[in-house]
Symmetry: C2
Subunit: 163 residues, 2 copies
DNA sequence: CATTACTCTGACGTTAACGTTAAACTTTCT
DNA sequence: AGAAAGTTTAACGTTAACGTCAGAGTAATG
């Protein structure tokens, strides 16, 4: 049997086909478990774009990108899954507002306007609040980082002195 | 009954006396629960400096400072309690090493030396590792913070435009 | 088409970090 | 001294974020 190109190290056939990415492949790519993906779906955080006729989840690259954002919110910002959901839903609702705003500049009803303005304020408030909290945390973390680096340096100096 | 100075707003008598701070007072000061303090003690994270004859915990200001550090490691760095314990014990062991090193510069046995050097390396490694991880996280958080601030600003701009 | 290899949906198990409650005991206040 | 307020240990309860397993069904593969 001749060694063909495809046998080299092609991604699982399930992935090469445009049939979407299987759950375990998606999970390994993102460094999480399949259970985690099902759990996130249960919480309304991440819904696969496709389902096979048999009922299996198939993820797209966009889904994976979305997942990456979720994981960043969790790992980097330390949000819990509820906070993440709130943040994401507000974000998508906001995108809708922006879209409708640009779509029909000016000719919306005053009532719709009020709703849009309320949402924009909500979004602005949340973003500013988060930004502020982050700034706080950042300064404290930087202080800590400086201290850690200094301590390490001092250890190395004492070590050098001992030689 | 004349209003004396002490009745103004003096801290609980239990605190003014130098008998140490009671657990619930210590807890409220730090913004945690009494249960948390007992739990931290159980884990070896925070031992009160004093116990009354009857067996009640009495905390000092130093204890509270120590508690603050623990809470910062938890909240700012997102460490779990096990990581915090490791970090703190390494730190105190390191202080001991530094003390003995300064106490008898040079005239320690070669065996003791080896031990000290090993610990200094361990400490330097841990500090550097943590510092590096922190730097990583910091850059990602800064990126996020910038994005949040930008989003908020854009929301405000659209809002202004709608007036 | 017959195996492998995956996946599905429950459902129960697990861990960290406490919360809560009970029964007995201390401290503080009057 | 005696009530009122606070504390102790021990033990069971709770929540988030999954892990794990069973039994049945679906997809990929030689």
């Amino acid at each position: 049997m001749p060694v063909t190109d495809e046998t080299k190290k092609a991604a699982p056939a399930s992935e090469t086909a445009d049939a979407g990415i299987r759950i375990s492949d998606a999970a390994t790519r993102a460094g999480v478990s399949a259970r985690t993906l099902r759990y996130y779906e249960e919480l309304g955080l991440l819904t696969p774009s496709l389902y096979t006729a048999g009922g299996e989840r198939r993820y797209t690259l966009d889904d994976l990108a979305h997942l990456e954002r979720i994981l960043e919110l969790r790992e980097v910002l330390g949000m819990n899954l509820d906070e993440i959901r709130e943040f994401l839903t507000l974000e998508t609702r906001l995108d809708e507002v922006k879209a409708t705003y640009r779509a029909n500049k000016g000719d919306t009803t005053t009532k719709a306007r009020a709703v849009q303005k309320a949402m924009l304020r909500e979004a602005a408030d949340l973003n500013e609040s988060l930004a502020k909290q982050l700034t706080d945390k950042l300064t404290r973390m930087e202080a800590f980082q400086t201290k850690l680096a200094g301590d390490a340096k001092r250890c190395r100096e004492i070590l050098a002195e001992m030689e």
